[in-house]
Symmetry: C2
Subunit: 190 residues, 2 copies
């Protein structure tokens, strides 16, 4: 059983998922920068644009970035030809705490993921990496939240994945729409 | 001067912005539920799908929802024919804290905003509402973060907006790409 859609939504959303079978094929630079261009045009609170993407796109930088990942992710994500860290500024221009910064960074990553899909690239966001090590080694101040690492590349052959990962290599399902779209009485009735 | 694009990205991203001139025209129900269908297929950490959208789509519910908004938003957002609150579960299925919940909810809102654009709907996310009042009156437990309220509807006539708002009624600009796309040495060199 695959994904079922109750409404006819955009192709990029229907077809996008988070594969682990990355190919070692290089990513076209125009495609690569275009996905960050897409991320740039996300909406954000007060148009603060709190997100930043720290990109590794050559062997030297990739080898640094890979060492931040936990082993369970390295098994498959080491092959990705691009890795990017999403961080976001938790403080507004006026020095006040920006409580929407991670939400806004998520919107930006959403735009990135769909532009990637449109251009035939695959993306996979991961939480499994050493945030403390990233903060120290890349000299990132506490003004930034370190959120996720994103593997970016071209689809590879799933036969090359270890058996346990290969078995999970398919689009993830979702809870029915009525679990996420609720009315004003939903919690009052609980 | 309008928005400038350095790369040719998807139309929905290029054309989407956050208007305040909502029309009083009703929203087609198929279009409305399709945008939440889009939100449903966002990726999330461990596929937890932490987001929930509390929707007000009839006069009775809208009148409750409007009272949560701060006055500065009510001036324009009272006309929106649909209002939705984005909340997200800050706890994983296993009881552990989900530090990615707001990021993932943001991704889901990003998908929603683009499907809306594709269907000729406008959306505008707001932080200006009384979260404590929402939590109390809708009986939302601390397990959920209350993030944003989203106005959804059809584009109206900007001439109907108050003068100060009318002057800001255009697509927001963005910082250049090199402010958000950075390399591993960016902070080390600071």
């Amino acid at each position: 059983m695959g994904r079922e859609f109750q409404y006819d939504i955009m192709e990029e959303i229907k077809k996008r998922w988070s594969p682990r079978a990355f190919s070692e094929e290089k990513v076209n630079k125009d495609d690569l920068y275009a996905i960050f261009e897409a991320a740039r045009f996300a909406p954000s609170c007060f148009n603060e644009q709190p997100w930043k993407y720290i990109i590794a796109e050559d062997e030297k930088d990739l080898s640094v970035m890979r060492k931040f990942m936990f082993d369970g992710n390295r098994i498959w994500a080491d092959k990705a030809q691009v890795l990017a860290l999403v961080i976001s500024n938790n403080t507004f221009w006026n020095g006040k705490k920006n409580r929407w910064n991670q939400f806004d960074a998520g919107t930006s990553w959403g735009y990135l993921s769909l532009e990637a899909q449109r251009r035939g690239l695959i993306t996979h966001a991961m939480g499994g990496f050493d945030r403390k090590k990233v903060r120290k080694e890349l000299n990132i101040s506490d003004k930034y939240d370190i959120i996720a690492m994103i593997a970016i590349g071209k689809m590879g052959n799933k036969e090359n994945l270890p058996k346990d990962i290969k078995e999970r290599e398919k689009p993830g399902l979702r809870a029915p729409l009525n679990k996420s779209l609720i009315n004003l009485n939903y919690f009052k009735d609980k």
